[in-house]
Structure formats: C-alpha cells, structure tokens
Amino acid sequence: MQFSTLSKTFALSLLLAGIVGCSSDPKKDTSDAGSDIRSDATATGGIDGQDTDDAMSGMPEMMTVYFDFDRSEIKPIARDTIEMHAKYMSMNSSARVILEGHCDERGTVEYNLALGERRANSVKRVLIASGVSPDQIETVSFGEERPSMPGHDESAWSKNRRVEFKYQN
C-alpha cells in the first residue's frame, strides 16, 4: 500500500515534470532525478492513463517561492507553485509539510525573524484557502540565519527571501 502510493507519486511527478518542461525552461536537476525512477513509474501509474487532475497530485518540483524585500505578500508568479502544492496535499492527506520562512541579510536580525514567519504564514494561508487541512502544515522561521546563497548583493538576496516547502517523509 505504502509502496503503490509512493510509486504513484513518482509517476505523477514525472508526468508533471514533462508538463513543466514543455511550458517553461527545462531544469537539468529535475530531468536527471526523473530518469532514475522511470521504470518504476511507468509500471504502476503511467499506463492506465491518468487524467490531468490526478496528474496534479504528484509532488510539485518547485520547492521554493520567493518574495520582494520586506514583503510577505505572495507574488503572482509564486501562486502557481503554491497551488500545485495545495493540489498535491489535498490529494495526499497524509502529506505533512514544514514551511520554512527566510529573509535576506538586510535590515535587522530580529525583525527578519518575524518577517520570515510572516512569509511562511502567507504561504500557509494560500494552501488552506485552496483546501489543504491546517493539520498538514507547520511553519518555522529562520529569519536571515540560513541563507541559501552566500553573497552581499541582489543576486544572492533575491534567492534568500523565500519560503521552502519541506515535506516530512
């Protein structure tokens, strides 16, 4: 049972990878990851023809959404990513996610800790509005303590102002 759900997930994520890959820029990492599980995936879910809704229950690939400086509002570009997570979580009621809020290094340390939480909560609200149960979601803020990109310029800062989806097994 456990196995089949898991393989289904993989299959659907593969399918999704295909969709995303066609419509936007292909990500090297994802296609590599996809190829590792290709045989399993096609064996279980792929053949009996999933429709699009089911396909959307695969785990989304974009695990991060980004924010403007000192803002916690969801940018339109991030909304699709969150919606995909919402669909996935709604269809996989056992899925649990920790939303990690982060900031760039500008501004003060403690304000940023609160801002990171606010960003995580913004994402949480969209998930709940899209039908995800609040019980599936936890939030945590690391403020400016755990940058994903080193550096002291906008190219690093823009990558550090983020919320990461961390699924728990």
Binding site: Y111, A114, E117, F142
Partner: protein, 437 residues
C-alpha cells in the same frame, strides 16, 4: 587610601566574574578609524615595577589604549616623552607643557610576594595647574592585572570627562565561520581581550542580552531547529529555556530594574511583544496588531518599551507604556527604522536606519525633541544590532566591512569610530554588559 575599601569590592567583583572561564578564544582586534578633534592630550608614563622582574603587563599601555579608544583623549607615546618621572618630585611640568599635554599620569606596581597580589598605584596631575588632582590604588592577582588597568582607566576617564568609565565592562557577541557552520557565544572584556566561550553550537545563536547585574545572559538559540529563548547563568554555566512556544521566540531584553524580560512571541498567531515577570513567571501581552511587533527595548526607567512595528506598512519605532498599554509612534522619517534603544538621558533613540527604499542601512540617532535623524556611520555596510555602552557614550554594532561581518563602534555623536574584527572568522550580535559597582 580613602578609596581602598570600595576598591576591594571592585577587585572582588573582578575575581568573581572570572570564575566561569573555560578556554581562551579568538579575540577581537581594535582599529581606530576616527577620533575627536577636541580630544584631551594626556601622557601616561610607563609604570614602575617593584621588583622589576615581576613586570608582566604593560599597565600604562592598556590605559593609553582605553583612553585613546574612547575618543576623548589623545595619548602621548613613551617614545615622544622627554622623561619618565617616578614620583612627584621628578616632574618638570614645563617639559609636559612643551609637549602640549594637559594631564600627566604616573604610577607603579608593587608585587607582594606573601599574597601573590599586585598593587597598582597611580597619580593624576594637571599640567597647567601643576598639581596632583587624583591618587588611587587598585590591586589584583596576575590574572586580574588587565582588570586593574581597566579600573584605573575608568577612574581617570570619569575624573576628566565627568562620565563613568566603561572599560571594566564585558561584551557578549557571537563568532562564526564565513560559511556560518559553527557558532560561539562569547564574552570578552570591553577591549576584546579575554574572550571566553559561553555556548558552542552548529546552529545560529542571536540576540544576547545582559541581565542588569551582569550575572545572566538571555539569548535565542536555533539548536532545536526553531527559535527558543534561554537564560544562561554565567557563574554556573547552567541554562534554562524560558520560551519555547509555538511560533517564534525572539528578542529577549531584561528590564533595567531586573524585574522583567521583554520578548517577541508569536504563540497567539502573530509576532507580538510580551513581558515576562521574572518574579512570578507569568507572561503579559503588551501589543495587539496584525503587523510585526518585535525588538523590544526598555526605557532607562523600565516604564516603557520601545519596539519595531510594521503596522504602518514599513518598520518604524513605537513605544508602549507598561502601566497603561498606550502605544505611540516615534519615528516618521526614513523607509526603515528598527531595533531602537533609548540613550540614558532619554533624549535620543539609536536605531538602524534606511533613508529610502533600496538604500543602505546605517546606525542613526533620532533627536526625540527636534525629530531630526542623524546618520552616524558611513564606512560600514548592512549595519545592524546596535547597543549603547553602559556609560552612554559609544554604540557597538555589527556590520559588513570589505565582505566580512565584523563588530564596529561609533560614538553617540558620530565623531569617534572604530572597527573590531575578529582575528579569525566573523563576528556579530554584540551586547554590552552593565557597569558593576
């Protein structure tokens, strides 16, 4: 001589604060980048040691470095002196006037073999009046000699500026590697010497805050993958988690009267200011707004709490009255004002200031009466975490300087500046301890 009993207490204090020493750690280096034009010229003659073989610390050099760093003094180097008088009768005041010195300090250190103590004695002279204006004695064992020199510096500083010296105080800060993989909460002397590690962690430690008696440090640690507030007893090394609620637990600050600890909690849904009564252990919520409220800081009388709030859309400084809960906005100028602290006289706020969106972050002072903001820093970038020295004269803060995170200091009037990089790695989150009597 008269001052001896009081002094013994100070020396005792000094001894007590040194009990929690584990191992010596990477220290800070001080580079003075800007002084005061109106600095007072003072000559501190090398101290005489008895016996000479016991000379183990250059006490005069420590005093010189302290006074110079304060920006209130220009100190004469021994190589520039015409003579090294040992006692009053050796002084030729004309020589010191020729060297344009206003004040002169002579001193000696006597080693007492029975007790193993060093007794330092010094005299302060007014060169123009040609008279002795202060005489003083301080003592301590080998480990306390730097402390004795700091204590003498405090006396001279206070006598000549009217401001209590803060050279005998401690600072806390967090040192880390460039990659931010290892964190050490450290406590050192105000001049960066004698650094001791209080806590070592693989996760961030932020927001150290001293209790007013200097015995405890509150801080936030991410060791459990989330922010939690701890209070750490420096003498015993024991610590206690005092806030590990759901959400963030952040920005602890002891009240100056020692009765409360203000902090930011989001346990009720959103970052708000709460006050913990340290006597009863009960939390009281002080703010109520859907915006961010954080970075509490007490007024000197412990009656008001300054805080940063995003309730207007951008971070600005507000204050809430402890008794009534009344909230008032204090800053209006600039795009981003945060982490304010009130000066001891209640006239200024020291804060992190960004004038306009996209601009740099500097330490600034806000004149509360006039409403005008003065930017105090310029040679550092990404300035944050300012804290005012316990005598109210300097501000210690963290900043980026040539790609490194370092500590830096600026006087409250912006005239004096120095940089305090760590010898190795990076250093941030400073907090200046109290003056202990």
């Amino acid at each position: 001589m008269r001052l001896m009993p009081k002094l013994v207490c100070c020396v005792l204090n000094l001894a007590l604060t040194m009990l929690w020493i584990p191992a010596a750690r990477a220290e800070l280096v001080i580079e003075i980048t800007q002084g005061r034009a109106s600095a007072i010229p003072i000559a501190i003659v090398p101290f005489q040691w008895h016996p000479k073989s016991q000379e183990i610390e250059d006490v005069a050099a420590i005093i010189r470095a302290n006074l110079k760093r304060s920006g209130h003094f220009n100190t004469l180097l021994p190589t520039e002196m015409l003579s090294f008088p040992k006692t009053e009768k050796d002084i030729y005041f004309r020589d010191w006037r020729l060297l344009k010195q206003d004040y002169l300090v002579l001193g000696d250190v006597n080693y007492e073999s029975e007790t193993g103590e060093y007794v330092a004695h010094f005299e302060l002279y007014d060169v123009y009046q040609k008279k002795k204006i202060m005489s003083y004695k301080a003592q301590g064992d080998k480990r306390e000699l730097r402390g004795v020199a700091h204590h003498i510096s405090d006396r001279i500083y206070e006598r000549l500026t009217g401001i209590p010296g803060a050279f005998s105080t401690k600072i806390a800060y967090v040192s880390t590697t460039k990659e931010r993989k290892r964190f050490r909460l450290e406590v050192a002397d105000a001049d960066g010497y004698n650094a001791k590690t209080i806590l070592e962690s693989n996760d961030s430690v932020i927001s150290p805050s001293w209790s007013p008696d200097g015995k405890q440090l509150a801080y936030v640690s991410f060791e459990n993958d989330r922010s939690q507030i701890f209070i750490h007893n420096l003498a015993t090394g024991k610590r206690q988690m005092i806030a590990g609620f759901k959400g963030i637990n952040s920005a602890p600050r002891f009240s100056p009267n020692g009765r409360y600890l203000a902090a930011t909690l989001s346990k009720d849904g959103n970052a708000e200011i709460y006050v913990l009564d340290l006597g009863t252990g009960s939390w009281r919520r002080m703010t109520r707004h859907y915006g961010i409220d954080t970075e509490a800081s007490w007024s000197p009388d412990s009656k008001k709490i300054l805080f940063t709030s995003s309730r207007s859309g951008k971070p600005q400084i507000y204050q809430v009255e402890l008794a009534t809960g009344d909230v008032e906005r204090l800053t209006f100028e600039g795009n981003y004002n945060a982490r304010a602290q009130m000066t001891h006289d209640g006239k200024y706020l020291i804060l992190v200031h960004q004038a306009e969106r996209g601009g740099d972050f500097y330490i600034a002072s806000l004149d509360l009466r006039r409403g005008s903001t003065q930017i105090l820093t310029s040679d550092t970038a990404l300035d944050e975490s300012p804290c005012i020295s316990p005598n109210g004269s300097m501000i210690l803060y963290a900043a980026n300087y040539r790609g490194r995170t370092i500590l830096a200091a600026v006087s409250v009037d912006g005239q004096v500046r120095h940089l305090l990089p760590a010898k190795f790695g990076e250093v941030r989150e400073p907090s200046w301890g109290p003056i202990l009597h």
